[in-house]
Symmetry: C2
Subunit: 301 residues, 2 copies
């Protein structure tokens, strides 16, 4: 790390479970570093040391601007960066400074809120801003899979509305902590079981709690394989979500933020509905959003 | 306990988390005892000592018959008591003896299975048998709320079909381990929020994962009270279950096994559908089922 040139600025993606820092020259990544010092394990005095532990080696003399997004700006975070209410542009025009004693000048981006139905996001707004920076003029619907998957309607550079689904968190709780964990002891993902479950759940989403137990019973009675159960569990939850999010994706131009298993599962589930969604690299979008915020901040200074 | 007369037999309700033993004279309870030695924390050699710890003080000389139901008869239990496939009578006609070295003669009741949709029960079949013993000739649908709620169609003394919903387990995971736990730090249950959520979920069950996150956002944005969130969480899950279990309860004679909060929530949710379900004491039903099994066993001996 001693070879890293002093960065012009530092981009920070600071979520509940992870802290990711990037030494930047304008939009170019010079170095990157990650730790598990997420917002969830820090009290207010812990943020500055956690950040310094990562970026200290990049600093030589004088303050370096830091632009951070994510849960770091929540009420339990380093400093509360207020929500802005949609419809609005995704990028926070007034960054919130964090209380720093040392050599950093940290600014935190605020999230978005929606009055009815009540909804919030933190971090995703920066990914959305980055996606728009990379795809100027794009109109359509973004799907951001995650612990709390978000569907976001974009038009004319603004977030018009959005809706969050707890699908990812429910999947993690059921596969790791429910009676189904006994039927998920080996790896694997059966795509055919996924497809069938998506289709069944889109037709009868109300049956999810029965279908879930039926997977366990199928394991006990018919020896259903773990991979089929994992595929079906994912399919039941994503299928029910698609049934509820129909007004978001039906007849729309769709992009999915993510390239991993979860993003591919959404892409696969949408295909029988005649939708070929584009997959977008999340880190690239996050950095593009933070870069846009940094440039705005720099122009203003 | 030294005053307890030697029982004629011992009734045992042995689930995943608890072991409950009853010193019996025919259908009369002489004494009761409970421990946390559920099936979930015992290996095969642990069952006999766990039982003796509870019932030892009741024994004087000679073997006493023990009739046990529940997860004690599962593959991971003391001895595997096979499932019988519905349609069939709820009471196992061929009890499975457990391997005992000491002074007890332990017999375990088997559960019920259903081929399609795949489903199983263990313990509930004894409650159902007891309910039928207490209400001879009853036809209709039993709802057995629990970690895994069961809907059971009874006709002419037989279990015709049944369906299990993971509703109780999902409620426990979401309220104790998801992001919603931060909005459920105080007690209370808002019945009006429950009613609204049941009605919404019956109309749009597919929205559950969005509705759940909306509860969290409502807490952050509008300060929704914990009691309203708990009521709505319960209502979302029970409402979706009722939407899926419609073919069980619609136009049927319904009894709910249970008298506690969860049973009352199901009773309340069914009321706007024009159904006044009877609540039945679970322990009374369990003991009536075990007593029926004991009498059959005794006649045969």
């Amino acid at each position: 790390m001693s070879d890293t040139p002093t960065p012009e600025w530092i981009a920070v993606d600071w979520g509940t479970t992870h802290l990711r820092a990037f030494a930047m020259r304008d939009a170019t990544v010079l170095a990157r570093s990650v730790s598990q010092d997420g917002m969830g394990r820090l009290d207010r005095t812990g943020f500055e040391p956690a950040l310094m532990a990562l970026v200290g080696p990049w600093l030589s003399a004088g303050p370096v601007p830091v632009i951070a997004c994510g849960m770091v700006g929540s009420r339990q975070g380093w400093v509360e960066a207020p929500y802005r209410e949609v419809p609005c542009v995704p990028l926070d025009p007034t960054l919130t400074p964090a209380p720093v004693t040392g050599d950093l000048a940290v600014h935190v981006l605020g999230g978005l809120s929606q009055r009815r139905p009540a909804d919030v996001m933190r971090g995703e707004e920066t990914q959305i801003a980055g996606f728009l920076a990379l795809n100027p003029g794009w109109d359509g619907v973004l799907c951001l899979p995650g612990t709390h998957t978000k569907w976001v309607h974009l038009s004319a550079g603004e977030v018009v509305s959005f809706q969050t689904f707890m699908t990812g968190e429910i999947f993690a709780l059921l596969s790791g902590h429910s009676v189904l964990r006994h039927s998920l002891t080996t790896d694997g993902f059966d795509a055919e079981a996924f497809d069938t479950a998506v289709s069944d759940a889109m037709g009868h989403p109300e049956r999810f709690a029965a279908k879930l137990f039926s997977l366990r019973a199928g394991h006990l009675l018919h020896g259903t394989q773990d991979a089929a159960i994992r595929g079906a569990l994912s399919g039941v939850l994503i299928g029910a979500e698609l049934a509820a999010a129909r007004h978001y994706w039906l007849g729309q131009n769709i992009a999915i933020l993510g390239m991993g298993d979860q993003a591919q599962a959404y892409q696969r589930a949408l295909r029988p509905q005649g939708i070929e969604a584009m997959l977008v690299d999340t880190e690239r979008a996050t950095l593009a959003g933070l870069t846009a915020a940094y440039r705005t901040q720099k122009e203003r200074a």
